[in-house]
């Protein structure tokens, strides 16, 4: 069977979705943002809601997200995407509204907005990309930076005694009564990306139920900020980040996952530094 025999329209298995524009993304090679953009666009295409969805882009690497999605988009002030999304959803309850934020935007500057939006139980979908660093501004320490991890502003590694502990924001939000679906996913392997797509699909479907916030954290890499190749960064993420931020559902249909309750029970123990300095 030759290549020409296989490449026929009826044999098509996978194709770039038309919900993404033809623009080349400005993200660094291997960045998780590109995968998550594609997954969101595929979910929008599968649900057939392209004319009825409004996205909110943040400040950070994904500030130009509106160039890549062929849907309506609003660019919010730094960290204010959940507030903006709340307003849009209240004024236009029939639309699907999603906010897309990184960890510098959501966990640091927009911490108040996201906590209160989740506490009010706004009927929106939030996508949170956690790569443990401020990527766009050159790799500064974020609240989600791991202990011992080197960044531009903590060149000797994050010391929790001076710089505070690594923030598990998604675990915090899961405990608010306004959240309906809270999960943590990743996109570093094909299996994880497929699972992530299911979770994002679920998060969009939940908007039809009008039950509260659907929150999807995607643990991602930042190979430029971590000073690694994309493949190394994915491997490092699997070995280190996923130990502190384990993947899985925390809250499904408004009820806690039993494994999550077990894990929260261990949070009062002294936070030992499990991460040695990355490199000398």
């Amino acid at each position: 069977m030759t290549r020409e025999d296989i490449i026929k329209p009826e044999n098509l298995v996978y194709k770039r979705t038309p919900v993404l524009t033809d623009a080349t993304m400005h993200y660094c090679p291997g960045c998780g943002h590109g995968v998550v953009h594609r997954i969101i666009a595929e979910v929008i295409e599968e649900m057939g809601i392209q004319d009825n969805v409004i996205g909110i882009s943040p400040v950070g690497c994904s500030v130009l997200a509106y160039n890549y999605f062929d849907v309506d988009f609003v660019e919010a002030a730094h960290g204010r995407a959940p507030a903006c999304a709340s307003a849009i959803k209240r004024l236009r309850p029939e639309t699907f509204v999603f906010s897309y934020q990184g960890d510098g935007d959501l966990a640091s500057i927009g911490c108040a907005e996201v906590v209160h939006a989740c506490n009010r139980g706004e009927n929106i979908t939030m996508i949170f990309i956690n790569n443990g660093i401020y990527g766009m501004t050159g790799g500064q320490m974020a609240p989600t930076t791991l202990e011992g991890m080197e960044t531009v502003t903590c060149p000797y590694g994050r010391d929790p005694k001076i710089m505070g502990h690594t923030m598990r924001l998604t675990e915090m939000l899961a405990q608010l009564p306004g959240t309906y679906y809270v999960t943590r996913q990743a996109v570093y392997t094909p299996a994880a990306a497929r699972k992530c797509k299911k979770a994002i699909r679920q998060a969009f479907e939940n908007q039809k139920l009008n039950k509260g916030v659907s929150f999807v954290e995607v643990t991602s890499n930042c190979n430029s900020g971590w000073k690694m190749t994309p493949v190394q960064a994915n491997k490092w993420m699997e070995e280190n980040t996923l130990k502190y931020f384990p993947l899985g559902d925390m809250k499904v249909d408004g009820k806690f996952d039993p494994k999550f309750i077990e894990r929260v029970g261990t949070f009062d123990q002294p936070n030992e530094t499990i991460f040695s300095l990355r490199k000398k």
Binding site: R3, K8, K15, Y188, P190
Partner: protein, 75 residues
Amino acid sequence: MAFKGALVIDTEKCKGCAVCITGCPQDPKCIGLSKKVNAKGYNYLEMVNEEACIGCASCAVICPDGVIEVYRAKC
């Protein structure tokens, strides 16, 4: 039943991150980076082992830039 796959790669959009190569389940891998570069200077992706491809689309689902189109036929 066996499947055979083929990829169509948008070489100008490819950034050569090689994440897709780690996603390929075949051994040896069906895909690899070319020695040639595209207009942006990246070593783009190409098929190095066309016979082994089964069209599983694992490379396409983790491609950050969506440059891979996958076709699969029964044989």
